[in-house]
Protein backbone atom coordinates (compact mmCIF):
# COMPACT_ATOMS: atom_id res chain seq x y z
CA UNK A 1 0.00 0.00 0.00
CA UNK A 2 1.50 3.25 -1.03
CA UNK A 3 1.29 6.04 1.46
CA UNK A 4 1.58 9.57 0.27
CA UNK A 5 3.82 11.65 2.46
CA UNK A 6 2.58 15.17 2.42
CA UNK A 7 5.31 17.74 2.47
CA UNK A 8 4.55 21.05 4.10
CA UNK A 9 4.83 24.22 2.05
CA UNK A 10 8.37 25.49 2.07
CA UNK A 11 7.61 28.64 4.04
CA UNK A 12 6.03 26.72 6.88
CA UNK A 13 8.85 24.18 6.69
CA UNK A 14 11.49 26.88 6.90
CA UNK A 15 10.14 28.30 10.15
CA UNK A 16 9.89 24.83 11.65
CA UNK A 17 13.42 24.01 10.53
CA UNK A 18 14.70 27.25 11.95
CA UNK A 19 13.05 26.58 15.28
CA UNK A 20 14.52 23.10 15.32
CA UNK A 21 17.99 24.35 14.49
CA UNK A 22 17.77 27.01 17.15
CA UNK A 23 16.70 24.47 19.79
CA UNK A 24 19.51 22.13 18.86
CA UNK A 25 22.03 24.97 18.85
CA UNK A 26 20.89 26.05 22.31
CA UNK A 27 21.27 22.51 23.60
CA UNK A 28 24.69 22.16 22.01
CA UNK A 29 25.82 25.46 23.50
CA UNK A 30 24.67 24.34 26.94
CA UNK A 31 26.51 21.04 26.60
CA UNK A 32 29.67 22.77 25.36
CA UNK A 33 29.66 25.24 28.23
CA UNK A 34 29.09 22.45 30.75
CA UNK A 35 31.92 20.41 29.24
CA UNK A 36 34.23 23.42 29.24
CA UNK A 37 33.47 24.16 32.90
CA UNK A 38 34.01 20.53 33.79
CA UNK A 39 37.32 20.40 31.91
CA UNK A 40 38.48 23.58 33.63
CA UNK A 41 37.57 22.05 37.00
CA UNK A 42 39.49 18.92 36.05
CA UNK A 43 42.49 20.99 35.04
CA UNK A 44 42.50 22.87 38.34
CA UNK A 45 42.06 19.57 40.16
CA UNK A 46 44.99 18.10 38.27
CA UNK A 47 47.16 20.99 39.39
CA UNK A 48 45.92 20.61 42.96
CA UNK A 49 46.54 16.89 43.08
CA UNK A 50 50.06 17.30 41.70
CA UNK A 51 49.28 15.04 38.81
CA UNK A 52 52.45 14.41 36.94
CA UNK A 53 51.92 12.52 33.74
CA UNK A 54 55.65 12.08 33.38
CA UNK A 55 55.83 10.27 36.73
CA UNK A 56 52.77 8.30 35.80
CA UNK A 57 54.14 7.01 32.53
CA UNK A 58 57.57 6.32 33.98
CA UNK A 59 56.14 4.43 36.91
CA UNK A 60 53.13 2.78 35.34
CA UNK A 61 55.45 -0.06 34.44
CA UNK A 62 56.17 -0.30 38.16
CA UNK A 63 52.48 -0.77 38.83
CA UNK A 64 52.33 -3.74 36.50
CA UNK A 65 55.62 -5.13 37.71
CA UNK A 66 54.35 -4.71 41.28
CA UNK A 67 51.70 -7.29 40.49
CA UNK A 68 54.35 -9.37 38.83
CA UNK A 69 56.41 -9.22 42.02
CA UNK A 70 53.59 -9.95 44.45
CA UNK A 71 52.82 -13.03 42.39
CA UNK A 72 56.38 -14.30 42.67
CA UNK A 73 57.79 -16.28 45.58
CA UNK A 74 61.17 -15.57 47.11
CA UNK A 75 62.53 -18.54 45.22
CA UNK A 76 61.56 -16.88 41.94
CA UNK A 77 58.78 -19.30 41.08
CA UNK A 78 55.20 -18.22 40.43
CA UNK A 79 53.06 -18.31 43.54
CA UNK A 80 50.53 -20.82 42.30
CA UNK A 81 53.21 -23.42 41.65
CA UNK A 82 53.72 -23.79 45.39
CA UNK A 83 50.54 -22.95 47.31
CA UNK A 84 51.97 -24.25 50.59
CA UNK A 85 54.85 -21.82 50.44
CA UNK A 86 52.55 -19.01 49.25
CA UNK A 87 50.09 -19.45 52.10
CA UNK A 88 52.72 -20.25 54.69
CA UNK A 89 51.02 -18.06 57.29
CA UNK A 90 47.48 -19.19 56.55
CA UNK A 91 46.81 -20.24 60.15
CA UNK A 92 47.76 -16.82 61.53
CA UNK A 93 45.90 -15.01 58.75
CA UNK A 94 42.76 -17.04 59.24
CA UNK A 95 42.83 -16.21 62.95
CA UNK A 96 43.20 -12.53 62.13
CA UNK A 97 40.46 -12.80 59.53
CA UNK A 98 38.25 -14.36 62.18
CA UNK A 99 39.05 -11.40 64.38
CA UNK A 100 38.14 -9.07 61.51
CA UNK A 101 34.80 -10.82 61.06
CA UNK A 102 34.12 -10.65 64.80
CA UNK A 103 34.97 -6.94 64.84
CA UNK A 104 32.51 -6.27 62.07
CA UNK A 105 29.87 -8.54 63.62
CA UNK A 106 30.04 -7.02 67.10
CA UNK A 107 30.33 -3.52 65.63
CA UNK A 108 27.36 -4.03 63.31
CA UNK A 109 25.16 -5.52 66.01
CA UNK A 110 25.98 -2.78 68.52
CA UNK A 111 25.46 -0.10 65.88
CA UNK A 112 22.19 -1.69 64.77
CA UNK A 113 20.90 -1.76 68.36
CA UNK A 114 21.73 1.92 68.86
CA UNK A 115 20.26 2.81 65.48
CA UNK A 116 17.14 0.87 66.44
CA UNK A 117 16.80 2.83 69.66
CA UNK A 118 17.32 6.17 67.96
CA UNK A 119 15.49 5.82 64.66
CA UNK A 120 11.94 6.26 65.99
CA UNK A 121 13.00 9.65 67.30
CA UNK A 122 14.51 10.57 63.95
CA UNK A 123 11.59 9.57 61.72
CA UNK A 124 9.16 12.32 60.86
CA UNK A 125 5.98 10.39 61.52
CA UNK A 126 6.89 8.87 64.87
CA UNK A 127 9.14 11.43 66.51
CA UNK A 128 7.72 12.73 69.79
CA UNK A 129 8.80 16.29 69.02
CA UNK A 130 10.57 18.36 66.38
CA UNK A 131 13.42 19.27 68.74
CA UNK A 132 14.23 15.69 69.59
CA UNK A 133 14.09 14.86 65.93
CA UNK A 134 16.44 17.66 64.97
CA UNK A 135 19.03 16.74 67.58
CA UNK A 136 18.97 13.01 66.83
CA UNK A 137 19.19 13.67 63.10
CA UNK A 138 22.27 15.87 63.51
CA UNK A 139 23.86 13.27 65.77
CA UNK A 140 23.30 10.49 63.24
CA UNK A 141 24.58 12.72 60.46
CA UNK A 142 27.75 13.40 62.42
CA UNK A 143 28.26 9.70 63.13
CA UNK A 144 27.98 8.77 59.50
CA UNK A 145 29.85 11.63 57.87
CA UNK A 146 33.02 11.31 59.91
CA UNK A 147 34.78 8.33 58.32
CA UNK A 148 35.02 5.21 60.47
CA UNK A 149 38.77 5.16 60.30
CA UNK A 150 38.99 8.66 61.77
CA UNK A 151 36.98 7.46 64.76
CA UNK A 152 39.33 4.49 64.92
CA UNK A 153 42.38 6.77 65.00
CA UNK A 154 40.93 8.71 67.92
CA UNK A 155 39.70 5.60 69.74
CA UNK A 156 43.07 3.93 69.42
CA UNK A 157 44.45 6.78 71.51
CA UNK A 158 41.59 6.71 74.02
CA UNK A 159 41.14 2.93 74.38
CA UNK A 160 44.61 1.74 73.47
CA UNK A 161 45.71 -0.31 70.47
CA UNK A 162 43.58 -3.34 69.74
CA UNK A 163 40.30 -4.53 68.29
CA UNK A 164 38.16 -2.68 70.81
CA UNK A 165 38.87 0.65 69.10
CA UNK A 166 37.91 -0.90 65.77
CA UNK A 167 34.65 -2.29 67.13
CA UNK A 168 33.62 1.03 68.63
CA UNK A 169 34.54 2.94 65.47
CA UNK A 170 32.47 0.59 63.34
CA UNK A 171 29.62 0.68 65.85
CA UNK A 172 29.43 4.49 65.72
CA UNK A 173 29.62 4.66 61.95
CA UNK A 174 26.98 1.92 61.66
CA UNK A 175 24.68 3.75 64.07
CA UNK A 176 24.81 6.80 61.84
CA UNK A 177 24.29 4.94 58.59
CA UNK A 178 21.62 2.52 59.79
CA UNK A 179 19.84 5.16 61.88
CA UNK A 180 19.12 7.11 58.73
CA UNK A 181 18.02 4.08 56.70
CA UNK A 182 15.86 2.75 59.55
CA UNK A 183 14.19 6.13 59.95
CA UNK A 184 13.42 6.14 56.23
CA UNK A 185 11.75 2.73 56.53
CA UNK A 186 9.67 4.00 59.44
CA UNK A 187 8.66 7.05 57.42
CA UNK A 188 7.38 4.73 54.72
CA UNK A 189 5.38 2.64 57.18
CA UNK A 190 1.60 2.69 57.19
CA UNK A 191 0.30 4.97 59.96
CA UNK A 192 -3.18 3.46 60.26
CA UNK A 193 -2.16 0.75 62.74
CA UNK A 194 -0.65 3.47 64.92
CA UNK A 195 -3.95 5.33 64.94
CA UNK A 196 -5.74 2.13 65.79
CA UNK A 197 -3.48 1.42 68.72
CA UNK A 198 -3.44 5.01 69.95
CA UNK A 199 -7.25 5.05 69.90
CA UNK A 200 -7.16 2.29 72.52
CA UNK A 201 -5.24 4.64 74.79
CA UNK A 202 -1.84 3.06 74.39
CA UNK A 203 1.38 4.93 75.13
CA UNK A 204 3.90 6.06 72.51
CA UNK A 205 6.08 3.07 73.33
CA UNK A 206 3.28 0.56 72.76
CA UNK A 207 2.39 2.31 69.51
CA UNK A 208 5.94 1.79 68.29
CA UNK A 209 6.08 -1.77 69.53
CA UNK A 210 2.79 -3.05 68.18
CA UNK A 211 2.03 -0.83 65.19
CA UNK A 212 5.35 0.14 63.64
CA UNK A 213 7.73 -2.64 64.57
CA UNK A 214 5.88 -5.51 62.85
CA UNK A 215 5.87 -3.51 59.62
CA UNK A 216 9.54 -2.57 59.64
CA UNK A 217 11.49 -5.38 61.27
CA UNK A 218 12.16 -7.25 58.02
CA UNK A 219 13.55 -4.12 56.41
CA UNK A 220 15.71 -3.48 59.45
CA UNK A 221 17.25 -6.94 59.35
CA UNK A 222 17.87 -6.67 55.63
CA UNK A 223 19.69 -3.36 55.95
CA UNK A 224 21.66 -4.62 58.96
CA UNK A 225 22.87 -7.60 56.94
CA UNK A 226 23.88 -5.32 54.06
CA UNK A 227 25.74 -3.14 56.52
CA UNK A 228 27.54 -6.20 57.87
CA UNK A 229 28.84 -6.86 54.37
CA UNK A 230 30.16 -3.30 54.11
CA UNK A 231 31.65 -3.44 57.58
CA UNK A 232 33.66 -6.57 56.79
CA UNK A 233 35.49 -4.51 54.18
CA UNK A 234 35.84 -1.62 56.57
CA UNK A 235 37.16 -3.87 59.35
CA UNK A 236 39.78 -5.31 57.03
CA UNK A 237 41.50 -1.91 56.94
CA UNK A 238 40.99 -0.99 60.59
CA UNK A 239 44.31 -2.64 61.30
CA UNK A 240 46.05 0.09 59.28
CA UNK A 241 45.70 2.41 62.24
CA UNK A 242 46.21 -0.29 64.86
CA UNK A 243 42.57 -1.12 65.52
CA UNK A 244 42.83 -4.90 65.13
CA UNK A 245 42.14 -7.44 62.43
CA UNK A 246 43.98 -8.52 59.31
CA UNK A 247 44.84 -4.96 58.22
CA UNK A 248 47.82 -4.77 60.54
CA UNK A 249 49.38 -7.80 58.90
CA UNK A 250 48.66 -6.47 55.41
CA UNK A 251 50.11 -3.03 56.04
CA UNK A 252 53.29 -4.58 57.43
CA UNK A 253 53.59 -6.84 54.40
CA UNK A 254 53.08 -3.94 51.98
CA UNK A 255 55.43 -1.55 53.76
CA UNK A 256 58.19 -4.11 54.22
CA UNK A 257 57.87 -5.45 50.67
CA UNK A 258 57.02 -9.06 51.60
CA UNK A 259 55.65 -9.41 48.10
CA UNK A 260 54.14 -12.87 48.06
CA UNK A 261 52.57 -12.27 51.47
CA UNK A 262 50.74 -9.23 50.08
CA UNK A 263 49.10 -11.27 47.36
CA UNK A 264 48.31 -14.14 49.73
CA UNK A 265 46.64 -11.85 52.27
CA UNK A 266 44.78 -9.99 49.53
CA UNK A 267 43.51 -13.27 48.12
CA UNK A 268 42.28 -14.42 51.54
CA UNK A 269 40.53 -11.07 52.09
CA UNK A 270 38.90 -11.09 48.66
CA UNK A 271 37.75 -14.69 49.07
CA UNK A 272 36.33 -13.92 52.51
CA UNK A 273 34.50 -10.86 51.21
CA UNK A 274 33.06 -12.95 48.37
CA UNK A 275 31.89 -15.65 50.75
CA UNK A 276 30.32 -13.10 53.10
CA UNK A 277 28.61 -11.29 50.21
CA UNK A 278 27.21 -14.48 48.77
CA UNK A 279 26.04 -15.91 52.08
CA UNK A 280 24.40 -12.72 53.31
CA UNK A 281 22.80 -12.32 49.90
CA UNK A 282 21.45 -15.84 50.19
CA UNK A 283 20.30 -15.23 53.75
CA UNK A 284 18.51 -12.02 52.79
CA UNK A 285 16.86 -13.76 49.89
CA UNK A 286 15.67 -16.56 52.15
CA UNK A 287 14.52 -14.46 55.06
CA UNK A 288 12.78 -11.64 53.27
CA UNK A 289 12.74 -12.65 49.63
CA UNK A 290 9.54 -10.89 48.64
CA UNK A 291 9.55 -7.86 50.88
CA UNK A 292 12.91 -6.49 49.80
CA UNK A 293 12.59 -7.06 46.08
CA UNK A 294 10.31 -4.50 44.59
Amino acid sequence: MATAISILPSQQLATLNDAYREAVARKRLKATVATAVFCAALFIAALGAEVNLHTFFTYFGNFLSYFDRILTLDSGARVWTDPLEWFWGLKKWLRLLGETLLISYVGTLTGAVFAFMLNFFAAQNTSPGPWVRFIIRRLLEFARTVPGIVFALIFVIAFGLGPMAGVLAIAIHTTGALGKLFAEIVENADMKPVEGIRSTGASWLSCMRFAILPQVSAGYASYALLRFEINVREASVMGFVGAGGIGQELVVAIRKFYYSDVSAILVTIIVTVFIIDISTGWLRGRLFGKETRR
Partner: protein, 282 residues
Amino acid sequence: MSQMPKPDTAELRGKYPGVFERPASARLAMPAMIAAALAIFVYGLVDLDFSPTKLITGMSQLGWITMMMIPPNPGSSFPLYMQALGETLSIALLGTTLAALFALPVSLLAARNIIPSNLIRFPVRRFLDSIRGVDTLIWALVWINVVGLGPFAGVLAIMVSDFGAFGKLFSEAIEAADRKQVEGIRASGGNALHEIRFGLLPQVLPVIAGQVLYFIESNTRSATIIGIVGAGGIGLQLAEQIRVLEWQKVSFLIQMILIAVAAIDFISSKLRFAIIGQRAVA
Protein backbone atom coordinates in the same frame (compact mmCIF):
# COMPACT_ATOMS: atom_id res chain seq x y z
CA MET B 1 -28.44 -5.47 66.49
CA SER B 2 -27.79 -9.07 65.87
CA GLN B 3 -25.23 -11.01 67.79
CA MET B 4 -22.40 -12.65 65.92
CA PRO B 5 -22.64 -16.41 66.12
CA LYS B 6 -20.04 -17.93 68.45
CA PRO B 7 -17.26 -19.40 66.31
CA ASP B 8 -16.95 -23.14 66.52
CA THR B 9 -13.37 -23.37 67.77
CA ALA B 10 -13.07 -27.10 67.43
CA GLU B 11 -14.13 -27.02 63.80
CA LEU B 12 -11.77 -24.14 63.01
CA ARG B 13 -8.95 -25.96 64.72
CA GLY B 14 -9.62 -28.97 62.52
CA LYS B 15 -9.73 -26.81 59.39
CA TYR B 16 -6.61 -24.70 59.99
CA PRO B 17 -4.18 -26.67 62.10
CA GLY B 18 -1.30 -24.48 60.88
CA VAL B 19 -2.75 -21.39 62.54
CA PHE B 20 -3.54 -22.89 65.92
CA GLU B 21 -0.61 -25.21 66.35
CA ARG B 22 2.39 -23.93 64.55
CA PRO B 23 5.06 -26.59 64.34
CA ALA B 24 7.70 -26.34 67.04
CA SER B 25 10.39 -25.61 64.46
CA ALA B 26 8.57 -22.48 63.28
CA ARG B 27 7.91 -21.26 66.82
CA LEU B 28 11.48 -21.87 67.98
CA ALA B 29 13.25 -20.52 64.88
CA MET B 30 13.19 -16.88 65.94
CA PRO B 31 14.32 -17.36 69.58
CA ALA B 32 16.99 -19.79 68.44
CA MET B 33 18.34 -17.30 65.93
CA ILE B 34 18.37 -14.54 68.50
CA ALA B 35 20.13 -16.80 70.99
CA ALA B 36 22.74 -17.76 68.41
CA ALA B 37 23.31 -14.13 67.47
CA LEU B 38 23.74 -13.21 71.12
CA ALA B 39 26.09 -16.11 71.72
CA ILE B 40 28.35 -15.01 68.87
CA PHE B 41 28.17 -11.46 70.20
CA VAL B 42 29.28 -12.49 73.67
CA TYR B 43 32.00 -14.70 72.26
CA GLY B 44 33.14 -11.73 70.19
CA LEU B 45 33.28 -9.48 73.22
CA VAL B 46 35.41 -12.01 75.08
CA ASP B 47 37.66 -12.76 72.13
CA LEU B 48 38.23 -9.10 71.32
CA ASP B 49 39.39 -8.32 74.88
CA PHE B 50 36.46 -6.22 75.93
CA SER B 51 36.45 -5.47 79.61
CA PRO B 52 34.39 -3.03 81.67
CA THR B 53 37.48 -1.42 83.18
CA LYS B 54 38.98 -0.83 79.76
CA LEU B 55 35.70 0.58 78.55
CA ILE B 56 35.37 2.95 81.50
CA THR B 57 38.96 4.24 81.39
CA GLY B 58 38.64 4.61 77.63
CA MET B 59 35.38 6.52 77.98
CA SER B 60 36.89 8.91 80.51
CA GLN B 61 39.86 9.38 78.18
CA LEU B 62 37.45 10.05 75.36
CA GLY B 63 35.56 12.56 77.46
CA TRP B 64 38.80 14.30 78.26
CA ILE B 65 39.77 14.36 74.58
CA THR B 66 36.38 15.83 73.70
CA MET B 67 36.88 18.56 76.31
CA MET B 68 40.26 19.32 74.79
CA MET B 69 38.69 19.62 71.34
CA ILE B 70 36.56 22.59 72.32
CA PRO B 71 36.80 25.15 70.88
CA PRO B 72 38.06 24.07 67.46
CA ASN B 73 41.07 26.15 66.58
CA PRO B 74 43.30 25.81 63.53
CA GLY B 75 46.17 27.78 65.11
CA SER B 76 48.27 29.32 62.40
CA SER B 77 47.84 26.51 59.90
CA PHE B 78 44.51 27.55 58.42
CA PRO B 79 45.91 28.28 54.91
CA LEU B 80 47.68 24.93 54.94
CA TYR B 81 44.43 23.17 55.83
CA MET B 82 42.50 24.97 53.13
CA GLN B 83 45.10 23.85 50.63
CA ALA B 84 44.84 20.29 51.94
CA LEU B 85 41.07 20.42 51.59
CA GLY B 86 41.46 21.62 48.01
CA GLU B 87 43.79 18.73 47.40
CA THR B 88 41.19 16.31 48.78
CA LEU B 89 38.46 17.69 46.53
CA SER B 90 40.82 17.50 43.56
CA ILE B 91 41.62 13.88 44.34
CA ALA B 92 37.93 13.00 44.51
CA LEU B 93 37.00 14.81 41.30
CA LEU B 94 39.94 13.60 39.25
CA GLY B 95 39.88 10.03 40.52
CA THR B 96 36.17 9.63 39.89
CA THR B 97 36.30 11.15 36.41
CA LEU B 98 39.21 9.00 35.31
CA ALA B 99 37.51 5.92 36.73
CA ALA B 100 34.33 6.71 34.80
CA LEU B 101 36.27 7.23 31.56
CA PHE B 102 38.06 3.91 31.89
CA ALA B 103 35.03 2.03 33.14
CA LEU B 104 32.69 2.97 30.29
CA PRO B 105 34.28 0.79 27.58
CA VAL B 106 34.83 -2.07 30.02
CA SER B 107 31.23 -1.92 31.22
CA LEU B 108 30.10 -2.49 27.63
CA LEU B 109 32.02 -5.76 27.75
CA ALA B 110 30.23 -6.73 30.96
CA ALA B 111 26.70 -5.95 29.75
CA ARG B 112 24.55 -8.86 28.67
CA ASN B 113 22.76 -7.07 25.86
CA ILE B 114 26.01 -6.02 24.17
CA ILE B 115 28.17 -9.09 24.68
CA PRO B 116 25.87 -12.11 24.69
CA SER B 117 28.78 -14.52 25.10
CA ASN B 118 29.42 -15.71 28.63
CA LEU B 119 33.01 -16.38 27.70
CA ILE B 120 33.97 -12.70 27.77
CA ARG B 121 31.37 -11.40 30.19
CA PHE B 122 32.15 -13.78 33.04
CA PRO B 123 35.89 -13.06 33.38
CA VAL B 124 35.28 -9.32 33.00
CA ARG B 125 32.68 -9.41 35.76
CA ARG B 126 34.88 -11.44 38.14
CA PHE B 127 37.75 -9.08 37.40
CA LEU B 128 35.61 -6.08 38.36
CA ASP B 129 34.41 -7.94 41.46
CA SER B 130 37.93 -8.60 42.69
CA ILE B 131 38.89 -4.96 42.18
CA ARG B 132 35.89 -3.97 44.26
CA GLY B 133 36.79 -6.50 46.94
CA VAL B 134 39.94 -4.55 47.76
CA ASP B 135 39.43 -1.43 49.83
CA THR B 136 40.48 2.03 48.57
CA LEU B 137 42.98 2.30 51.40
CA ILE B 138 44.76 -0.85 50.24
CA TRP B 139 44.93 0.49 46.70
CA ALA B 140 46.37 3.71 48.11
CA LEU B 141 49.12 1.75 49.86
CA VAL B 142 49.92 -0.11 46.65
CA TRP B 143 50.05 3.09 44.58
CA ILE B 144 52.25 4.77 47.16
CA ASN B 145 54.71 1.98 46.57
CA VAL B 146 54.56 2.72 42.86
CA VAL B 147 54.40 6.52 42.44
CA GLY B 148 55.56 7.62 45.87
CA LEU B 149 53.83 9.53 48.68
CA GLY B 150 51.50 12.34 47.67
CA PRO B 151 48.05 13.14 46.30
CA PHE B 152 48.77 11.55 42.93
CA ALA B 153 48.79 8.14 44.61
CA GLY B 154 45.40 9.06 46.07
CA VAL B 155 43.98 9.90 42.64
CA LEU B 156 45.15 6.58 41.27
CA ALA B 157 43.80 4.67 44.28
CA ILE B 158 40.34 6.22 43.92
CA MET B 159 40.48 5.66 40.19
CA VAL B 160 41.19 1.94 40.52
CA SER B 161 38.69 1.16 43.24
CA ASP B 162 35.95 3.17 41.52
CA PHE B 163 36.76 1.54 38.24
CA GLY B 164 35.49 -1.71 39.73
CA ALA B 165 32.33 -0.14 41.10
CA PHE B 166 31.56 1.85 37.95
CA GLY B 167 32.14 -1.12 35.70
CA LYS B 168 29.40 -2.96 37.52
CA LEU B 169 26.95 -0.06 37.85
CA PHE B 170 27.36 1.07 34.25
CA SER B 171 26.87 -2.41 32.91
CA GLU B 172 23.67 -2.69 34.94
CA ALA B 173 22.48 0.65 33.54
CA ILE B 174 23.23 -0.57 30.02
CA GLU B 175 21.39 -3.83 30.61
CA ALA B 176 18.36 -1.90 31.80
CA ALA B 177 18.29 0.20 28.61
CA ASP B 178 15.45 -0.17 26.16
CA ARG B 179 16.08 -2.39 23.13
CA LYS B 180 13.71 -0.56 20.82
CA GLN B 181 15.93 2.41 20.02
CA VAL B 182 18.79 0.09 19.15
CA GLU B 183 16.56 -1.92 16.85
CA GLY B 184 15.39 1.26 15.21
CA ILE B 185 18.96 2.28 14.45
CA ARG B 186 19.70 -1.14 13.06
CA ALA B 187 16.58 -1.06 10.90
CA SER B 188 17.71 2.20 9.36
CA GLY B 189 21.04 0.64 8.45
CA GLY B 190 23.34 1.62 11.32
CA ASN B 191 26.27 -0.55 12.26
CA ALA B 192 27.14 -1.81 15.77
CA LEU B 193 28.98 1.36 16.74
CA HIS B 194 26.04 3.50 15.59
CA GLU B 195 23.75 1.34 17.68
CA ILE B 196 25.79 2.04 20.76
CA ARG B 197 26.31 5.72 20.02
CA PHE B 198 22.78 6.68 18.99
CA GLY B 199 20.68 3.89 20.47
CA LEU B 200 22.26 3.16 23.84
CA LEU B 201 24.30 6.14 24.97
CA PRO B 202 21.46 8.70 24.96
CA GLN B 203 19.51 6.41 27.28
CA VAL B 204 22.42 5.48 29.49
CA LEU B 205 24.38 8.72 29.81
CA PRO B 206 22.01 10.54 32.20
CA VAL B 207 21.98 7.52 34.51
CA ILE B 208 25.74 7.30 34.35
CA ALA B 209 26.16 11.03 34.96
CA GLY B 210 23.99 10.73 38.05
CA GLN B 211 26.05 7.84 39.35
CA VAL B 212 29.32 9.66 38.69
CA LEU B 213 28.09 12.69 40.59
CA TYR B 214 26.99 10.49 43.45
CA PHE B 215 30.41 8.87 43.54
CA ILE B 216 32.20 12.22 43.52
CA GLU B 217 30.15 12.93 46.61
CA SER B 218 31.02 9.70 48.36
CA ASN B 219 34.63 9.88 47.19
CA THR B 220 35.06 13.19 48.95
CA ARG B 221 34.67 11.04 52.05
CA SER B 222 37.07 8.36 50.82
CA ALA B 223 39.57 11.02 49.76
CA THR B 224 39.60 12.45 53.27
CA ILE B 225 40.76 9.13 54.68
CA ILE B 226 43.30 7.93 52.15
CA GLY B 227 45.60 10.66 53.45
CA ILE B 228 45.89 8.62 56.62
CA VAL B 229 48.19 6.17 54.86
CA GLY B 230 50.09 9.03 53.16
CA ALA B 231 48.21 9.64 49.92
CA GLY B 232 47.76 13.39 50.36
CA GLY B 233 44.86 15.62 51.18
CA ILE B 234 43.27 16.61 54.43
CA GLY B 235 43.50 13.11 55.91
CA LEU B 236 47.26 13.45 56.11
CA GLN B 237 46.92 16.58 58.24
CA LEU B 238 44.22 14.95 60.33
CA ALA B 239 46.26 11.82 61.05
CA GLU B 240 49.31 13.92 61.91
CA GLN B 241 47.40 16.17 64.30
CA ILE B 242 45.82 13.14 65.99
CA ARG B 243 49.24 11.56 66.43
CA VAL B 244 50.68 14.67 68.08
CA LEU B 245 47.50 15.09 70.16
CA GLU B 246 46.65 18.60 68.92
CA TRP B 247 42.97 18.10 69.67
CA GLN B 248 41.78 21.61 68.86
CA LYS B 249 43.27 21.32 65.39
CA VAL B 250 41.75 17.83 65.04
CA SER B 251 38.27 19.07 65.78
CA PHE B 252 38.77 21.98 63.40
CA LEU B 253 39.82 19.60 60.64
CA ILE B 254 36.83 17.34 61.31
CA GLN B 255 34.59 20.37 61.11
CA MET B 256 36.13 21.35 57.79
CA ILE B 257 35.50 17.86 56.45
CA LEU B 258 31.88 17.93 57.59
CA ILE B 259 31.25 21.30 55.98
CA ALA B 260 32.98 20.32 52.76
CA VAL B 261 31.03 17.07 52.51
CA ALA B 262 27.75 18.86 53.19
CA ALA B 263 28.56 21.46 50.52
CA ILE B 264 29.44 18.81 47.94
CA ASP B 265 26.29 16.87 48.82
CA PHE B 266 24.21 19.96 48.23
CA ILE B 267 25.83 20.89 44.93
CA SER B 268 25.79 17.40 43.51
CA SER B 269 22.18 16.71 44.47
CA LYS B 270 21.21 19.97 42.71
CA LEU B 271 23.20 18.92 39.64
CA ARG B 272 21.74 15.44 39.69
CA PHE B 273 18.22 16.82 39.74
CA ALA B 274 19.14 19.02 36.80
CA ILE B 275 20.55 16.10 34.81
CA ILE B 276 18.14 13.27 35.49
CA GLY B 277 15.12 15.44 36.10
CA GLN B 278 12.74 15.28 39.03
CA ARG B 279 10.78 12.42 37.56
CA ALA B 280 13.56 9.88 37.53
CA VAL B 281 14.52 10.63 41.11
CA ALA B 282 11.09 10.42 42.64
